[in-house]
């Protein structure tokens, strides 16, 4: 992927991220019956190696949901949540006390609740992107992992990046549920898909 996106193009992508993330935050808020905030997203093209550092977390335990995006602008969506936040979300959804935040083993109910959260956030995000661009986009079924942030991000990037040198990262921090940085929602479009999105936004190269 070319790393030479103009500032106007990055602004347009940030706006897409903003609308997508805002819609996703509203959906999560409705689901949980509690306020969820999402920071204004950042949009930038980064060498793959730098993405884990930018997202942060390093050796924190996190839960991550990875979904493919199919349709006219394919790519991936990745949701990461600190383990304590993931447990708070599942507890709220399942109506039971939160489990031990230091224990990486989640039970079947918790795993499926988190996959559902990934589904809902991603569908809301992609729905907003579709309204904005008219592009048809569908999520694939979610895959879930609970482990060190670096281990999950490195693996997700290997799945996502293929032969790309760099990737466009549009990420929004999620706050709420007693945590300022509960999680991060990322959209990683494929290189070809990026051109399609930029074209539709009227800022094509």
């Amino acid at each position: 992927m070319s790393t030479a996106l103009g500032e106007g193009q990055l602004d347009a992508l940030r706006e897409v991220g903003n609308i997508g993330a805002g819609t996703a935050a509203t959906a999560l808020s409705t689901l949980l019956g509690a306020p969820v905030a999402m920071a204004v997203p950042r949009a930038r093209v980064l060498p793959l190696e730098r993405i884990p550092r930018e997202v942060g977390g390093d050796d924190e335990l996190v839960a991550a949901v990875l979904l493919g995006v199919t349709g006219e602008a394919p790519g991936h969506m990745l949701l990461t949540m600190g383990l304590a936040s993931a447990r708070a979300i599942t507890a709220a959804l399942l109506g039971r006390p939160a489990g031990d935040p230091g224990d990486p083993e989640l039970d079947e109910m918790e795993l499926s609740a988190l996959q559902e959260v990934g589904n809902i956030l991603t569908s809301a995000y992609l729905g907003a992107l579709t309204s904005l661009t008219g592009l048809r986009l569908e999520p694939t079924p979610p895959a879930l992992g609970v482990d060190l942030s670096d281990a999950l991000l490195g693996s997700a990037l290997a799945e996502v990046a293929g032969d790309a040198e760099a990737a466009l990262l549009i990420d929004a921090r999620i706050g709420g549920l007693g945590a300022e940085r509960a999680g991060c929602l990322m959209f990683l479009p494929e290189p070809g898909a990026l051109e399609v999105v930029l074209e539709r936004l009227g800022v094509g190269g």
Binding site: L48, E49, P52, R53, D58, D59, L61, A64, L66, L67, G68, T70, H76, D103, P104, L111, Q115, T140, P141, P142, A143, L144, G145, D147, L148, S149, D150, A151, L152, G154, S155, A156, L157, A158, E159, A161, D163, E165
Partner: protein
């Protein structure tokens, strides 16, 4: 393991080598990535690569060598030899190659971990470096470290205790 200084981090896609007996090299959070340690313990030279993908695409720059199994292994070997290691004394230890995203059908289906593991083993054979020990596969992240002084390698699974390999 020698104590004292903070370990040198081996980040995603990078290669770190040392001939300083006080150094410990460490890759935190190997998921589907494979950490490749190659050392000449008698000479006190060791290095580690944090491999992310099995094969370099055509035209990938040399600066990205550490990212790909097929490029990282010979590059690491050559750097160690340049630091004074004897080629025939080099031994390798690898860890990682897990499947991190368990369920679901679409995403995670490339099974990069298993392919990385296979590609690293093949590259070691081509590079003429014997594999001394391996801890690969499964579904958990690992942290891998090597002490340059004696080439001792330890691996710690997430939520577990370090084990010498």
């Amino acid at each position: 393991m020698s104590a004292g200084r903070a370990p040198l981090p081996v980040g995603l896609g990078s290669i770190v080598t040392s001939a300083d007996a006080g150094d410990v090299l460490k890759a935190t959070g190997l998921g589907s990535c494979v950490g490749v340690v190659i050392a000449d313990p008698a000479r006190g030279v060791a290095g580690m690569a944090h491999v992310m993908l099995p094969e370099a695409p055509a035209g990938a720059p040399a600066s990205a060598d550490g990212r790909y199994a097929d490029r990282a292994v010979p590059a690491l070997r050559d750097r160690l030899v340049a630091l004074g290691a004897r080629r025939r004394s080099l031994v390798a230890t690898i860890a990682g190659g897990a499947r991190m995203f368990g369920s679901g059908s679409g995403a995670g289906s490339r099974d990069v971990g298993r392919r990385n593991d296979a590609a690293v083993r093949a590259a070691l054979v081509r590079a003429g470096v014997g594999l001394r020990a391996a801890d690969t596969g499964g579904g958990r992240g690992r942290t891998l470290s090597v002490s340059v002084a004696d080439g001792a390698v330890s691996v710690r699974p997430v939520g577990g205790e370090p084990v010498l390999l």
